[in-house]
Symmetry: none
Subunit: 242 residues, 2 copies
DNA sequence: GTAGCACCTATAGCACTGTTATATGAACCA
DNA sequence: TGGTTCATATAACAGTGCTATAGGTGCTAC
C-alpha cells in the first residue's frame, strides 16, 4: 500500500494543476510551475498524464464530474418546469464559482475535445426534459429542447463570467431562462395581452400608456407622483407633434 | 512612397496571421510561422504590433469590423421584429463562416480583453432594439433585451460551431431565436404570444413612449417637466417582480 | 551634395516552454 | 537471489515569444 500521510504524486499533480489554473487568471500555466508546486519532476507528469493537455483534461474531467454530481444532486420536485429552472440556475452558479474551469469546459471549444464533456451535460438535461415531456409540458422534443436550453444557458453564463463580478446582473439569467423555457414548454397559465396596433408616434404611445394605467396602477410611483404623471401624459396625448 | 506591387510588411503580417489562424485548426500559431509566411523577420512583427497578442488583436479587430459592417449593411426593413431575426441569423452565419475568429471574439473571454469587442456588438444590437422599442414592440428595456439576445445568440453559435458541419441543425438557431425574441418583444400580428408572468401592458406602453420621446421632444412640457417625466417613465418601464 | 533624422528591417541571441532519451530507485514475484 | 514492472529523477532537446543591437532606407535642411 501507499503512504496515507501524503497524497500520491498523481493526485498532487492534479491538485496543483487545478489550483494554479484557477489562480492564474486565464494566463497559461507552465508544466514547470505545476511540477514544482507538486514537488515532482517533469517525467512523472508525462508518465501519468502523457501530455500537458492530458493533465488539463483530467482537471477538467474532475471539475466536470463535480458539475454533474451537483446537477444530479438536485431533487426532482415533481414540478418539471420548476426543475428546469433549478438546473439552469445551478449551471450558471457553477460557472460563476469556477470561471476558469468553465471557460475551458464550455468556452474553449476544440471541435474534437468537446463531445465527452458537453454532450453528457446535454444528455443529462435531456433526461430532465424527458420528465417534463412525460408531464405533457413540452412543445418540442426533449432533444431539441435540451440543445436550445443548454446553448442559451452557456451563452448567458459566459456573458456573466465576462463582466466584473460587482456589476453582474443576474436578471439577465432569469430573463433568458424564462424566455427559453416558455418557448420550449407550456406553462399552465396563459396570459394573452392584447396590444393596440403599434405605431411609433409619441401620441399613440402616450394614449396607450394612459389607457393601460387606468386598469393597473404601478407601484413604482407614489400617488401624488402618479397624479402629476397622468396629467402630463394627458397633455402629451392631447395634440399631435410627431 | 512605397511600392504598390506588393503590400507593406505590416499588411502582409496581418494577412499571413489571419490565414494561418484560420487554417491551423485552433492549434496555436507561432510567430515564426507567421513571419516566415509574411517573408519578414521577427523584429518587424514586434515593431508594428508590439506583441504576438497585439498582432492577434489586430486580426480580431479586422474580423470584428467586418462583422459590424455586415451587421450595419443589413437594411432596416421597417419591421423591427423581422430585423431582429435578420441580425440574429447574420450573427450565426458570421460565426459559421469564420469559426476560429469567432471563438477568439466571443468564446475566448479574458475579462479585460473583451469589452471593446462584445460591448460594441451589444451596443449595436441595442440600437436595433431601440427601433423595435420605438415601434412599441418591446416589453423590456432595449439594454436588457440586447444582452439577453446576444447571450443566447453567442451560445447558439458556439454550439453550432462545435458540432461537425455535416450534422449542423440550424433549427436550433431558429428555435432559440424565436424563444428570445418572443420573450423580449410582442408580435403585433395578433399573435397570442404569452408574456412571462403577466407583464402588464403598462410596461409595454411605457417603454414604447420612452423610445418615442428619444427622437421627438414634445413642446407641451417644459424641459424641467420633461426631465422628471422621463425619470418616472424610466421607473415604470423597469419591471418590478422577477 | 551630405548631414542629420526618423522610420523600418535584419542578425543573433536570451530565457523559457513542452517534451523525452536515459538512468535510477523501489516493489513484487520467481 | 535475480528479473520484471512501475514510478521517479537527471539532463538535454527543439521550438517558443521576445529583444538588444545594428544596419539600411527615405526624407528634409543646409
Amino acid at each position: 500500500m501507499k503512504k496515507v500521510g501524503e497524497p500520491a504524486p498523481k493526485a498532487r499533480l492534479l491538485k496543483a494543476a487545478a489550483a494554479l489554473l484557477a489562480e492564474s487568471n486565464g494566463e497559461p500555466v507552465s508544466t514547470r510551475q505545476i511540477t514544482q508546486a507538486a514537488r515532482v519532476t517533469a517525467p512523472t507528469l508525462y508518465h501519468h498524464f502523457g501530455d500537458k493537455e492530458g493533465l488539463f483534461d483530467a482537471v477538467v474531467a474532475e471539475g466536470f464530474s463535480e458539475y454533474l454530481d451537483a446537477e444530479r444532486g438536485l431533487p426532482a420536485s415533481g414540478q418539471p418546469i420548476e426543475d428546469l429552472r433549478n438546473h439552469w440556475d445551478n449551471h450558471v452558479q457553477f460557472g460563476l464559482d469556477h470561471p476558469h474551469l468553465y471557460l475551458v469546459m464550455f468556452g474553449n471549444i476544440r471541435p474534437e475535445r468537446r463531445p465527452s464533456m458537453v454532450a453528457s451535460a446535454e444528455a443529462f438535461l435531456e433526461e430532465v426534459l424527458a420528465r417534463a415531456a412525460a408531464a405533457a409540458r413540452l412543445v418540442v422534443s426533449p432533444r431539441e429542447a435540451a440543445r436550445s436550453m443548454l446553448a442559451a444557458n452557456i451563452g448567458v453564463t459566459l456573458m456573466l463570467i465576462a463582466e466584473p463580478a460587482a456589476k453582474r446582473n443576474l436578471e439577465l439569467s432569469a430573463m433568458t431562462r424564462e424566455a427559453v423555457i416558455s418557448a420550449v414548454a407550456t406553462d399552465s397559465e396563459g396570459d394573452p395581452t392584447t396590444q393596440t396596433e403599434g405605431t411609433p408616434s409619441v401620441v399613440v404611445a402616450a394614449i396607450a400608456l394612459n389607457a393601460a394605467l387606468q386598469s393597473s396602477h404601478p407601484d413604482q410611483l407614489s400617488s401624488s407622483e402618479l397624479k402629476l404623471f397622468l396629467e402630463w401624459l394627458q397633455r402629451i396625448s392631447s395634440r399631435s407633434g410627431s
